[in-house]
């Protein structure tokens, strides 16, 4: 190399004989480092060496045996066989056998290699010179030449109009990807902003509350004090069939609880309960987990995801946890037949908070 002088380490601590030794070695070998070297038992005692050879080859053989056992287990063990192990209990025998044999097959190869390296391979510390990070001057000059030639032959500098229009075209190409992000939420008719969409749920005046899963209307008399019912709007099955998605359910899911009227300290609206029966959104205002961990003695509603806790007896205000606003309350009453119905939709957006939240209600 032309500038090999620059590459030589300037420090005086570097071994002086490095380059001489390097030339004396076969290619692929590295010069010994000038550090103290202790011999291992396997270096001095032939018996220890033999033992190490035996140990390493045993590990490799065991690995091969494990592969054979894996195949035997795969063929021989019925898929529904169950084995009971201490501490672990009853588990599928086939899975356990396949996992143990294949795991050991891989592990024993690694363990054998490590044992081999530690006991038998040379453990003499060596020095490996690292090449200079900088590209050498000749290569740099060639690259610069290529660039200059390309610039001239293509006419990149000669025709500025081509250069500028090309840059414009390339700058605009990513825009369709950004614009199409607008379609991350679908616009139902009459809705123009995400906050409007989130403000509107299936609940409307006179809509019956029906039990989730079984879709039975709920009579006010049917709910005992301390009772909890998971409810959805009566129209939900129709809408779900129409829309083929779960958005309507995710927004409208609600819980109904009953307490004695004198236990209610405050509500989100005057008379939104029916004789101590209160309905709230089931979707946590933090990040939208469905919650119905209602503790009937303390009237606390706990979200299992991040432990946000709401006091349903006190306007569902946040008493603990990361949620920043209360659970929206659904105003309810009963119809002529005594079934619970909604008085209106939620007056606050349900689910997690979002940017436009403040201007969308209040």
């Amino acid at each position: 190399m032309s500038d090999s002088k620059d590459l030589t380490p300037a420090s005086s601590g570097a071994p002086a004989t490095t380059s001489d030794t390097q030339q004396a070695l076969r290619p692929g070998a590295w010069p010994r480092a000038e550090v103290e070297h202790h011999l291992r038992r396997t270096d001095t005692d032939p018996r220890a060496q033999k033992r190490a050879v035996r140990q390493v080859s045993t590990m490799f053989l065991l690995s091969a045996l494990m592969v054979v056992l894996f195949i035997v287990a795969f063929i021989a063990i019925p898929r529904d066989a169950v084995i009971t192990l201490p501490y672990i209990g009853a588990i599928g025998a086939l899975n356990a056998a396949m996992g143990v044999t294949f795991g050991l097959a891989i592990f024993l190869i690694g363990a054998g290699a490590v044992h081999w390296a530690k006991k038998l391979m040379s453990d003499v510390e060596v020095v490996q010179e690292r090449h200079e990070m900088k590209t050498d001057a000749d290569d740099t000059a060639v690259a610069a030449d290529i660039y200059e030639v390309g610039k001239e032959t293509s006419g990149f500098a000669k025709y500025p109009v081509i250069r500028r229009t090309m840059l414009l075209a390339m700058a605009l190409v990513p825009i369709p990807f950004i614009v199409s992000l607008r379609d991350l939420w679908l616009t139902p008719p009459g809705v123009t902003t995400p906050s409007e969409e989130l403000l509107v749920t299936l609940w409307k005046p006179g809509m019956r509350l029906v039990t989730d899963i079984t879709y039975q209307p709920v009579r006010a008399d049917d709910i005992p004090v301390g009772g909890l019912v998971n409810v959805v709007p009566a129209d939900l099955p129709l809408v779900e069939e129409e829309e083929h998605n779960l958005n309507a359910r995710a927004k409208a899911a609600a819980i109904v609880v009953r307490m004695t009227p004198d236990e209610i300290q405050s509500q989100q609206g005057e008379g939104w309960d029916y004789e101590g029966i209160l309905a709230f959104s089931k979707i946590c205002t933090h990040v939208g987990c469905p919650i119905s961990l209602y503790q009937q003695r303390t009237h606390e509603l706990l979200c299992p995801c991040h432990q946000s806790t709401f006091n349903l007896a006190d306007s569902a205000n946040v008493v603990f946890g990361p949620a920043a606003r209360r659970m929206p309350q659904l105003p309810i009453t009963v119809d002529d037949e005594g079934y619970l119905v909604a008085v209106s939709d939620f007056k606050e957006p349900v689910g997690p908070s979002f940017w436009e939240l403040k201007e969308s209600y209040s």
């Binding site: 291992r40 038992r41 396997t42 529904d80 169950v82 672990i88 209990g89 009853a90 588990i91 599928g92 899975n95 356990a96 996992g99 690694g110 490590v114 530690k118 006991k119 453990d123 039990t211 989730d212 899963i213 079984t214 039975q216 709920v218 009579r219 008399d221 049917d222 709910i223 005992p224 004090v225 301390g226 009772g227 909890l228 019912v229 998971n230 609880v257 469905p290 919650i291 119905s292 961990l293 209602y294 503790q295 009937q296 003695r297 303390t298 606390e300 706990l302 299992p304 432990q307 806790t309 603990f320």
Partner: protein, 261 residues
């Protein structure tokens, strides 16, 4: 004896014998049955009386002399026999220490005593009764629907595999694998402690049976995938991998780096 012997082969002998037999059995049955009925009414009264005695000894200090409730315990008027059976047979009552929640522990009363106390509390005011054998017969229940109902109504507190979970301020939903079908039924019916009530009108008997059938299916199913780690899901599994598997990796790294003699 001689007369009997001579008439033994008389054609009417068989009929007479049958008639006599029927009369004796019927007569005996009537006598015994009326005696049983009389005894059963009497028994109910004694049972309630016994229950009252046990209540005054063991429960009244917290629930009040007339079960009207005190500062230390809620009223038992109207809770029904199901609540008494649930609380006492699972050992939750009598309460050992006041705390966030009464834990399950070995029961302190015999089945007879519990029945007596339940009868006494039920006699105070009508309330949910101890489920009958027909209530608890879930053999025809729809397990799949039970699973859906379980996920909608139970899983948020009792966890998707029924293993229970933490609530606020030291309260918790217990592990359902330790509960009998009767206890599960009674808990839904009465809403013990902080559990809400799932009454028969919003969660009818068939739905309760379906839920019990689902819980029993969970209990009976084994873990084909391997060690379930309590079936608590990704949290315990992740913790196990981070602690268990990482320790193994660290041990291997120490072994690789250890000096050889």
């Amino acid at each position: 004896m001689k007369t009997l012997a001579t008439h033994r082969r008389h054609p009417a002998a068989v009929i007479v014998a049958i008639l006599v037999g029927l009369l004796v059995t019927g007569g005996l049955y009537t006598v015994v049955n009326s005696a049983t009925q009389a005894r059963s009414a009497e028994q109910d009264a004694t049972q309630i009386l016994n229950g009252k005695k046990l209540f005054l000894e063991g429960c009244s200090s917290c629930h009040g002399i007339a079960a009207q409730g005190t500062q230390n315990g809620p009223t038992l008027i109207g809770v029904g026999s199901a609540a008494v059976h649930f609380q006492v047979s699972t050992g939750r009552m009598p309460l050992a220490n006041p705390g966030a929640q009464a834990p399950q522990k070995p029961r302190e009363y015999s089945e007879t005593d519990i029945a007596a106390m339940a009868a006494y509390v039920a006699s105070l005011a009508p309330g949910p009764a101890i489920p009958t054998a027909a209530d608890l017969d879930y053999s025809d229940a729809d397990v799949a629907e039970g699973g859906e109902l379980f996920r909608a109504n139970c899983s948020q507190c009792h966890q998707a595999a029924g293993r229970g979970g933490a609530l606020s301020n030291g309260k918790y939903a217990p592990n359902l694998m330790e509960a009998t079908p009767q206890e599960i039924y009674e808990a839904m019916l009465t809403g013990p402690q902080n559990m809400p009530v799932f009454g028969d009108s919003t969660l009818p008997r068939e739905d309760k049976q379906a839920i019990i059938a689902y819980v029993e299916t969970l209990r009976a199913s084994d873990d084909p995938g391997g060690w379930a780690l309590g079936r608590f899901g990704p949290v315990t599994e992740g913790l196990f991998m981070w602690i268990g598997a990482l320790l193994l990796v660290v041990a291997c790294a120490i072994w690789i780096g250890a000096k050889v003699r």
